[in-house]
């Protein structure tokens, strides 16, 4: 029995919007699970249902074996961290952190001790007497986190907590959150639209789209073995490249014939002949004078330690290739590409589903 269980959870809003379409999800004790997806995919609604801020239309939520589906948030023992800190401006940092304890009737002496202990572990001791308006965004979010931590809840629920922070603060806070979570071993459900954040924080990533779960698994699995075109494109920056075409049998072997291209790509695996979309990540493409894919360089994007070369190869959208930081390919240059076939993934062009995937 998992620590958190969602069974056939559904949410239909009064205006008819099906925000969450009957999902099954579980999280083990101490696990860091990230709900990842674009705006409107249902991840925040799912989180709010776990918190009790939203009532499900149908389905069941259990925490530590207890059916909490109809319980109020205060009866569920969850700690919620919002995107916009939600600190009380008229209370000091110490009072903000202590607020949930005060609301729960904890006596002053014990409250002060617990507040100081949490503040110390989060590097907030020097700020205890400050007011939220005196703090940077990063520090405010730290206080928000401390407030969720102080009660030692059974589950942390975090809704895009780093969204309002500057890019460099976000990286720092990410490491901080992961460090604390690993120390405290509290089951955490974390919502984000940023796949890089998901990859770096999660024990397991749950990719959502249109109110359903597309795939759930460890970061490496979701990255290397995406279940669909959507997951393959959404995870990774830039996402996986897609080349539509056909798989053909060619003298005992399989080849992939891209649409609008002359040269077939020999395959190692055996895939049933028919229409398919070949997916290949930017780091598995390289320039090669004999390569099967030809095109024109559109952009050479410098990224410090590497470059993203964007190429128009006659398919919808551009192909992105990861190159070394010394690459001097210029827009307008003609180029031929080859790929590392072992990392090619095939998808049904119609349904988007991965061909030959276990799920």
């Amino acid at each position: 029995m998992s620590f958190l269980e969602l069974q056939q959870l559904k949410k239909v809003f009064p205006d008819g919007t099906e925000a969450v379409k009957g999902i099954d999800l579980h999280a083990e004790a101490g696990e860091f699970v990230v709900l990842l997806g674009p705006s409107g995919c249902g991840k925040t609604t799912t989180l709010r249902m776990i918190a009790g801020l939203e009532m499900p239309t149908s389905g069941r939520i259990a925490i530590a074996g207890r059916n909490v589906t109809m319980l109020r948030p205060s009866e569920r023992d969850v700690g919620f961290v919002f995107q916009f800190y939600a600190l009380y401006p008229h209370l000091s940092v110490a009072q903000n952190i202590g607020f949930p304890l005060e609301a729960a009737g904890v006596r002053r002496a014990e409250r002060d001790e617990r507040v100081r202990a949490v503040a110390r572990s989060m590097g907030l001791l020097p700020l205890l007497e400050c007011y939220p308006r005196q703090l940077s965004g990063g520090d405010q979010q730290r206080v928000s986190l401390a407030r969720a931590v102080v009660r030692h809840p059974a589950i942390f629920l975090m809704d895009e907590p780093l969204g309002t922070l500057d890019a460099d603060q976000r990286l720092e806070m990410r490491e901080f959150i992961r460090g604390r979570q690993q120390e405290m071993k509290v089951t955490t459900i974390y919502v984000t639209h940023d796949q890089e954040e998901a990859m770096s924080l999660a024990d397991r990533i749950v990719v959502m789209q249109g109110g359903t779960i597309c795939q759930a698994g460890p970061a490496a699995e979701v990255y290397d073995d995406p279940a669909s075109l959507f997951v393959a494109n959404f995870v990774g920056s830039p996402g996986m490249n897609f080349i539509p075409g056909h798989v053909r049998a060619h003298g005992g072997r399989c080849v992939f014939m891209p649409d609008r291209a002359q040269t077939p790509i020999p395959l190692k695996a055996s895939i049933a002949p028919g229409p398919a979309t070949l997916g290949i990540r930017p780091e598995f493409l390289h320039a090669s004078p004999q390569g099967p894919i030809s095109g024109t360089v559109v952009m050479n994007e410098y990224q410090g330690s590497f470059r993203s070369i964007h190429i128009d190869a006659g398919f919808t959208g551009t192909i992105a290739m990861r190159a070394g930081e010394s690459s001097r390919l210029q827009p307008g240059q003609k180029i031929r590409l080859d790929l590392d076939a072992a990392h090619a993934r095939f998808f049904d062009t119609q349904s988007g589903r991965r061909i030959g995937h276990a799920i």
Partner: protein, 335 residues
């Protein structure tokens, strides 16, 4: 540029050349938006001038300056259609355009930004990405002399940001109009800028190409602003002709050109090899980020980030022998 009692911009001087995309990079509060608003004419500087095309426009109204701004929060008229939003700047006083020409411009802008199918939709019914495209369209219909962009991609989902980044650069190149693009996101600065201006607390810390700023940052502060994961900064002292950390790790040879006894060394995670060094480091955290792995390791008391290949088998608790590439380190004097 003073704002009340606080000096928001301190004698900032910067040039944008005719066919250039200049990115102003800095954290929130650095003065980037104030800078942009001053150039646009939405704020008057207390000192200094704004010159556009050689002419002093410091006293001119925003309309007279012929600059177009795109804001972070799109700022569209929600009850109007996309077409009406795009037409609006062309109907403003001072822009006497015939109806036919207005239509042409609107269709042209919509085509470039792939929003032709949205022309008759009310802007409040658009997604974030679509709204931002309309905001950009509204800026380009005027064919201004300069584009000013204030963190236009910040409010968009990560995936959309990636896509629009590319489109914006291609668009600017096609229009050949100079652009000043303000952001706190170093990925945008590195990939979009012909030149980058690093701004902090109202002062310019460094100006240069993205490669200049990345490879030869002027100070540890600049170095930390750019590059992900962030650059490793190590406090070292000179010992036996080498720079050593307080934990006794020899990081690099100390060259004669650095007479000081103490220094700060910057070395990027991708420039630290996992083998070849003399002193072991204990791996604490392994982060899989797709094409690579980021290791957080304890190197005799110093915490460092190392970029390792995705195929490397490594776990927390393993030992590595880090070696900083001597051609890639940057050495600064201590303040």
């Amino acid at each position: 540029m003073r704002f009340g009692r606080a000096e928001v911009l301190h004698r900032v001087s910067l040039d944008v050349n005719a066919d250039e995309l200049v990115v102003v990079l800095g954290p929130t509060g650095a003065g980037k938006t104030t800078l942009l608003r001053t150039i646009a004419g939405l704020q008057t500087p207390h000192e200094g001038r704004v010159l556009l095309g050689g002419a002093d426009v410091t006293g001119s109204s925003p309309a007279a300056r012929d600059v177009a701004i795109v804001f972070q929060d799109f700022s569209l008229y929600p009850n109007w259609t996309v077409r009406a939003n795009l037409e609006f700047p062309l109907r403003a006083p001072g822009h006497a355009l015939r109806l036919a020409e207005i239509n042409n411009r609107v269709e042209w802008a919509a085509g470039i930004l792939k929003i032709t199918h949205l022309l008759d939709r009310k802007s409040q019914k658009l997604s974030g990405g679509e709204m931002q495209r309309v905001a950009i369209g509204r800026a380009i219909v005027r064919r201004p002399r300069v584009f000013l962009m204030d963190e236009p991609l910040t409010n968009l989902d990560a995936k959309l940001r990636e896509a629009l980044r590319l489109e914006l650069v291609c668009l600017r190149r096609e229009l050949k109009t100079p652009m000043l693009f303000v952001t706190h996101d170093q990925v945008e600065a590195l990939s979009m800028g012909d030149r980058v201006v690093v701004l902090s607390e109202g002062r310019i810390l460094q100006t240069g190409t993205p490669e200049d700023i990345y490879r030869r940052p002027a100070s540890p502060v600049v170095a930390r602003q750019i590059g992900q994961p962030a650059i490793n900064l190590l406090n070292v002292r000179r010992e036996d002709g080498r720079w050593k950390t307080s934990g006794g790790v020899a990081v690099a040879e100390a060259r004669e050109s650095h007479p000081a006894e103490k220094a700060i060394i910057g070395v990027r995670p991708e420039d630290v090899a996992c083998t070849g060094g003399e002193h072991p480091a204990a791996v604490r955290v392994v982060e899989a980020i797709g094409p690579a792995k980021v290791l957080l390791a304890d190197w005799a008391g110093c915490e460092i980030h190392v970029l390792a290949p995705a195929t490397m088998a490594v776990q927390p608790g393993d030992r590595i022998f880090p070696r900083a590439n001597p051609d890639r380190i940057v050495v600064w004097n201590c303040e």
